[in-house]
Amino acid sequence: MHSFFLNQNTVLPNRIRYASAVLCLFVFLLVTSTKAQTVLTISGEVTKPLTLQAADIKAMPHTSVTGKDRDGKEHQYSGIPLVNLLKLAGATLGGELRGENLVKYAVVKAIDGYEVLFALPEIDPEYATRTILLADSVDGSPLPQGVGPYRVVVPGEKKPARWIREVKSIEIRFAK
């Protein structure tokens, strides 16, 4: 029998158990939130790999887009256009998006390991008619638990499977 089994079997008033759980959680969150954590990395075929913290992203110019989420309802998302983040990292966009650079793609990874990819032209406004966003708020509120802190929003895409939640990293690669 392990200690946590014992905890579950020990007769404790539920309130005490709940309070101690909340306290542990509070301490844990306090400990983890006081360290400045990297929240997003941009790496791969870029000239300036980036390691960003929440404050860096908050300070960047934000744009709003509307899009239909899985609930079928239109929402307003605010965040940073993906193209701006990739330009900051020195990815080949705009005038450089030609020739062999047309076989480059961005792999976006979530904290849980989920991954999706976008070809660079999908992200570049010289090609694409829609703005793909790295959103950090929806309808004026921060993204909820399990969705945020960052989520890719692809306006007009009929299926939201590439609206990847809990975004952790973006890697630019060449198709080889």
Partner: protein, 371 residues
């Protein structure tokens, strides 16, 4: 001396004849051709410095079942990864050379070719790296670095085998890891009833059909659709996706899981979403083996999800659904009817993956040291 050798030879012949199966004689050589269904896809990487060869897989299989790789000469990889249990050990936590339980449950070894991050927390980036951990962990095989290599170097037959695979007699932990990794890459399971059903060779019973529907469907109360949404995290044809989720076992996880690797608060209590291939054979369940049966697992997802800040979004309550799936008794029994279809009997009985017993001595001529 001659008489001794003669007797040895006779004894070996008797051992061979009485063995369950004939060894590969002579030791097979050449590239190893992997066979897997096209539907599994080719998204895997075999390290350039460890190409898959028949001789490497052969050696890896010997090493996988080699108790000399443990401090007490009693524990091999195969002790905690038993083929008849889809390479698990039936314990909540494994017992190694120290007699103390390890901290996590032994994982099934199937279709590792497609896995990129090993262990419950995903800390190893290759099978080669993974192998070294149980080899040296004090509660698993308990060998100091290079101690396993020394032990094999002193045997009569291993140096010659290593020469065949790596081009020299020198045995190192790195080479041991490479050979075991090669064997593990061949452990492909693709012939369960579920696979046969996908290929149109098996017809589901009504209960199995209902179970599959619950397994595959996301619940949509507004449209009256019931579901367990298992496939969302556990994947489709391969029955695995490389995801790490907190599946609501605890409000505060006693084992921080992936957070210990990434340092991210949001990774607290997240663990690998394991493969469901052969799941009926791999009890007990969860990273700490706390749930003894599939019934208990289904009950957990139905009624016992614990909320916490890193709880998987798929298991969270939202405006139109409570936490957990709240299956009916019939839904539970339908799911329990479906899950055994994921058992691949040919995988757990494949002689290619079994313990080769003591046939190793016959693989190549005994190596005679010069001193």
């Amino acid at each position: 001396m001659r008489i001794v050798k003669f007797c040895l030879a006779i004894a070996l012949m008797i051992a061979l004849v009485s063995a369950w199966k004939q060894p590969d004689e002579p030791m097979p050589t050449g590239p190893y051709a992997l066979q897997y269904p096209a539907s599994f896809g080719g998204r895997f990487t075999i390290p350039a410095n460890n190409p898959l060869t028949q001789e490497g897989v052969y050696l890896g299989r010997l090493l996988f079942y080699e108790p000399r790789l443990s401090k007490t000469n009693t524990i091999s990889c195969g002790s905690c990864h038993q083929q008849n249990r889809a390479f698990t050990d039936g314990r909540a936590l494994s017992i190694g050379v120290s007699g103390k339980p390890t901290s996590r449950n032994s994982m099934s070894l199937a279709n590792l070719l497609w896995v990129r991050q090993f262990f419950w927390d995903g800390r190893a980036a290759s099978l080669e790296d993974q192998v070294r951990v149980p080899l040296t962990h004090t509660d698993e095989m308990g060998m100091a670095p290079e101690e396993a290599a020394k032990a094999l170097q002193q045997t009569g037959f291993y140096p010659a085998l290593f020469r065949r695979v790596f081009g020299s007699d020198t045995i190192t932990d790195a080479r041991i890891s490479k050979a075991i990794a090669q064997f593990e890459r061949t452990l492909i399971s693709a012939n369960s009833r579920y696979d046969q059903y996908q290929q149109g060779h098996y017809t589901l019973t009504e209960a199995e059909q209902n179970g599959l529907h619950l397994f595959s469907s996301a619940p949509a109360p507004e449209r009256g659709i019931r579901g367990g949404n298992c496939a969302h995290c556990h994947g489709g044809l391969k029955l695995v996706q490389e995801l790490f989720h907190n599946n609501g076992l605890d409000q505060v996880a006693p084992d921080a899981g992936r957070q210990t690797i990434t340092g991210l608060g949001l990774d607290h209590g997240r663990f690998r979403v394991p493969t469901l291939r052969n799941i009926a054979l791999t009890a007990p369940y969860m990273h700490d083996g706390r749930l003894a049966t599939l019934e208990a697992v289904i009950d957990h997802y139905s009624d016992h999800i614990q909320s916490s800040p890193s709880l998987s979004r798929e298991l969270m309550a939202d405006s139109d659904k409570p936490t957990g799936f709240h299956f009916t008794t019939k839904e539970k029994s339908d799911l329990l009817a479906f899950l055994p279809l994921l058992t691949d009997s040919s995988f757990v009985t494949n002689p290619q993956f079994s313990d080769p017993n003591n046939l190793k001595r016959t693989a190549v001529k005994p190596h005679h040291s010069t001193n």
